[in-house]
C-alpha cells in the first residue's frame, strides 16, 4: 500500500496537509505537527511586515462548526525567515508550504520573492481570507481579474518553486476563478478558505461573540459545501488541487480525493481530534485501503468526477 502523493512535483508521504493558520506559528510548532503524522505542513499566512490580528475572542467551535476571525496576525517576513528556516533545517521534515498574504496586488511581488528565498517546497498565495474585509475589501479570490493578476505577479518573481493559489468558496463561479489562475500560470490550487463570513450571537448580552463580529466558518458542518467546490474546480481546470473544509476522518480525506483533490488539508479538525488527527486519519485511510484492496492511493484522485 502506497499513500504517497506527488503534487506539483513535490512528493508528500501521505495526502494530509496542515492547513494554514492552524498551529503553524513557529518552526517548532510545524515540527510538532509533522511528528504527529502530517504529510505536509503549511505556515500561517506571512505578511511582509508585522500585522496585528483582531482582539479576542478570535475563534471557537461547537460540535458542528468552527468559526474564526483571527485577522491574520503575523510577525512579518523576518520572523518567517527564522521560524521556517528552522523547520527547513530539520532532517525528518515533510514538505513545507509557505503561505503568503498581502493587502494590495502589487505587494505580492515583494513578499513572494522573499518567501521563495526562504526555500519552502511550494508557495501558497492566500487571496481569500474573509476576516480582513473591513481592512482590505472583498478578497481578490472573488474576482477573476484580481485572482489572475495576483497569480501573474507571483509567478513573475517565483521561478524555482511551484505556486498555488488559495481560493475562496464564497463565490458562485469558482470554476471561472480557478481558470483565471490557471491561465496566469498557477501550478495548483487550494480549495478552499473558510465560508461566509458567518456570525454567532450571544443572546444573554445580545452581542456578536467574535470581537470582529463576523468570522470564517469551517469544520464538519460545511464539508459537503467544500467537497462541491473541489468538484467544481476539478471539472474546470487541469492543475492539481489541495482540498479542504471540515475534514475529520480518513473517509473524509478519501471523499475529497475522489472529488478531485490530490492532497487534503486539515485545519479545524485539530480542534475536534487534537494534533493527533493526522496519525489517526492516516490509520483510517490505511484501513480503508486494506478493506477495499486499494494499493496506490493516488489512483483514487478524481475517481467520482471521472465516472
Amino acid at each position: 500500500m502506497n499513500k504517497s502523493i506527488s503534487f506539483c512535483g513535490v512528493s508528500f508521504p501521505n495526502p494530509t496537509v496542515l492547513a494554514s493558520g492552524i498551529l503553524g506559528v513557529t518552526g517548532d510548532s510545524l515540527k510538532n505537527v509533522a511528528r504527529n503524522g502530517a504529510g505536509g505542513v503549511t505556515s500561517k499566512s506571512v505578511w511582509l511586515t508585522r500585522h496585528e490580528g483582531h482582539p479576542g475572542p478570535v475563534m471557537m467551535g461547537t460540535e458542528h462548526f468552527y468559526i474564526n476571525a483571527v485577522g491574520l496576525p503575523d510577525g512579518g517576513i523576518e520572523k518567517a525567515k527564522e521560524e521556517l528556516g528552522k523547520y527547513l533545517e530539520w532532517k525528518e521534515r515533510v514538505p513545507l508550504i509557505g503561505n503568503i498574504v498581502a493587502g494590495k496586488i502589487s505587494d505580492f511581488e515583494n513578499i513572494a520573492g522573499q518567501m521563495e528565498q526562504i526555500g519552502p517546497d511550494i508557495i501558497e498565495v492566500n487571496i481569500s481570507c474573509p476576516n480582513v474585509e473591513d481592512q482590505f475589501g472583498r478578497p481578490f479570490a472573488c474576482s477573476c481579474p484580481d485572482a489572475g493578476a495576483v497569480t501573474k505577479i507571483v509567478k513573475k518573481v517565483v521561478k524555482k518553486i511551484p505556486v498555488i493559489i488559495k481560493l475562496s468558496p464564497n463565490v458562485s463561479n469558482i470554476g471561472e476563478i480557478a481558470k483565471a489562475c490557471e491561465a496566469n500560470g498557477a501550478d495548483g490550487l487550494t480549495i478552499a478558505n473558510t465560508f461566509g463570513p458567518g456570525m454567532i450571537i450571544d443572546i444573554d448580552t445580545a452581542e456578536p461573540i467574535l470581537a470582529n463580529k463576523v468570522g470564517g466558518v469551517s469544520g464538519p458542518g460545511i464539508r459537503p459545501l467544500a467537497v462541491k467546490r473541489v468538484w467544481d474546480t476539478a471539472t474546470a481546470v487541469k492543475i492539481p488541487i489541495i482540498g479542504m473544509g471540515g475534514v475529520l476522518t480518513g473517509r473524509d480525506v478519501i471523499e475529497f480525493m475522489m472529488a478531485g483533490a490530490s492532497l487534503v488539508g486539515i485545519g479545524s479538525g485539530v480542534y475536534y481530534r487534537g494534533a493527533e488527527i493526522f496519525s489517526k486519519v492516516n490509520e483510517e485511510i490505511d484501513e480503508w485501503m486494506k478493506e477495499q484492496g486499494v494499493k496506490e492511493l493516488s489512483e483514487i484522485i478524481g475517481k467520482a468526477v471521472k465516472k
Partner: protein, 266 residues
C-alpha cells in the same frame, strides 16, 4: 465539543490588594486546580485566567490589573456585571493522596495554588505553602491559607516586610533539604519556577510547573501558545506539566512570544 462562552454574573468582588481582585461566580465549572478559563469582556477582548477556586456551586477568578484588559476589567466589573466564560481548558496539577507536598507560589500564582492546596488537603495531604512577593502589600491569599488546616504557610518578601527576606525558592530548598517532601507544585514567574525545577532536580523530587504563554483559542488550534523546543501548545499539553517536560522548552524563563508570535524576553 462546545466552547462558546457562557455568560455569567459576578456575584461578589473581593479586593485582595491594591492591584488584585477576586471575582466570585455562583456557578459550577468542573475545573481542576491549574486549569484556566477564557474570560470574555464583550466589545473589549478575551483573556485567559486560572481558576482560583471551584466547587459544585461557585468558582473564583483572581485578576491582577497589569494592562489594558485587566485594568478595564477592574474598573468596569462590579457585582452583577455580565461576562462570558469558556473552559475549563488545559491540564491541571496532579492531586496526590496522603502525601507531603510543597507548593511554591509567586504573584497571582497564589490563587490557583490555593485551590490546589484545598483539594490536596481534602485528599489527606500535608501541605507546605510557600508564598513570595516583592513586599507585604503584594502578598496574596495569605489570610485564607493561614486558616487552612493541614497547611503550613511560609512567606518570603524581597524587602523582608513580611516573613523571610529574599526569594521564596530558598524556603523551598530548606524544606526539601529537611526531607520528607514527596512532590513540589509551583505557579508564578517563570524564573522562579525554573529555580524550583533546578532545586528539585538536584534533590530528586518531582515537580509540576505551570507554563503561561500568550493564548487565544485555549484549545490547541491557533498555535500562539506553542512553546519552542517541544513545539506543543501549552493551552492543551499544559499549562501544568512536569519539570521533566518543561526542561525541554527552549528559552524557558528566557523568552515567550507575543500576540503575533514574536519572541519577547521575560
Amino acid at each position: 465539543m462546545h466552547d462558546i462562552p457562557k455568560v455569567l454574573k459576578i456575584a461578589e468582588v473581593r479586593t485582595e490588594n491594591p492591584t488584585v481582585k477576586t471575582y466570585v461566580f455562583k456557578s459550577g465549572l468542573g475545573a481542576k486546580p491549574g486549569q484556566f478559563v477564557n474570560v470574555w469582556m464583550p466589545r473589549v477582548n478575551e483573556k485567559p485566567f486560572s481558576v482560583a477556586y471551584c466547587d459544585d456551586k461557585e468558582f473564583w477568578l483572581t485578576i491582577a490589573a497589569v494592562g489594558p484588559f485587566s485594568k478595564k476589567f477592574h474598573e468596569e466589573f462590579k457585582v452583577g456585571g455580565k461576562l462570558g466564560v469558556r473552559g475549563p481548558y488545559g491540564h491541571g496539577y496532579t492531586v496526590l493522596k496522603d502525601k507531603h507536598i510543597a507548593l511554591l507560589a509567586g504573584g497571582y500564582g497564589a490563587a490557583p495554588m490555593y485551590y490546589l492546596a484545598h483539594e490536596a488537603v481534602k485528599n489527606g495531604c500535608k501541605v507546605e505553602f510557600i508564598v513570595g512577593a516583592r513586599n507585604k502589600d503584594l502578598l496574596l491569599y495569605t489570610d485564607r491559607i493561614e486558616k487552612m488546616e493541614g497547611v503550613k504557610l511560609h512567606i518570603a518578601t524581597d524587602d523582608g516586610s513580611m516573613g523571610r527576606k529574599g526569594y521564596n525558592t530558598v524556603i523551598l530548598q530548606e524544606l526539601i533539604a529537611a526531607g520528607g517532601i514527596d512532590m513540589v507544585m509551583t505557579c508564578g514567574p517563570e524564573i522562579m519556577m525554573k529555580g524550583a525545577m533546578d532545586i528539585c532536580e538536584k534533590a530528586g523530587v518531582p515537580i509540576e510547573v505551570s507554563i503561561e504563554r500568550y493564548m487565544k483559542c485555549g484549545s490547541g488550534v491557533c498555535g500562539n501558545c506553542c512553546v519552542d523546543g517541544l513545539g506543543v501548545p501549552v493551552c492543551k499539553k499544559g499549562p501544568v506539566m512536569s519539570g521533566e517536560m518543561a526542561r525541554k522548552i527552549d528559552g524557558l524563563a528566557k523568552w515567550h512570544r507575543d500576540n503575533v508570535g514574536m519572541k519577547v524576553s521575560w
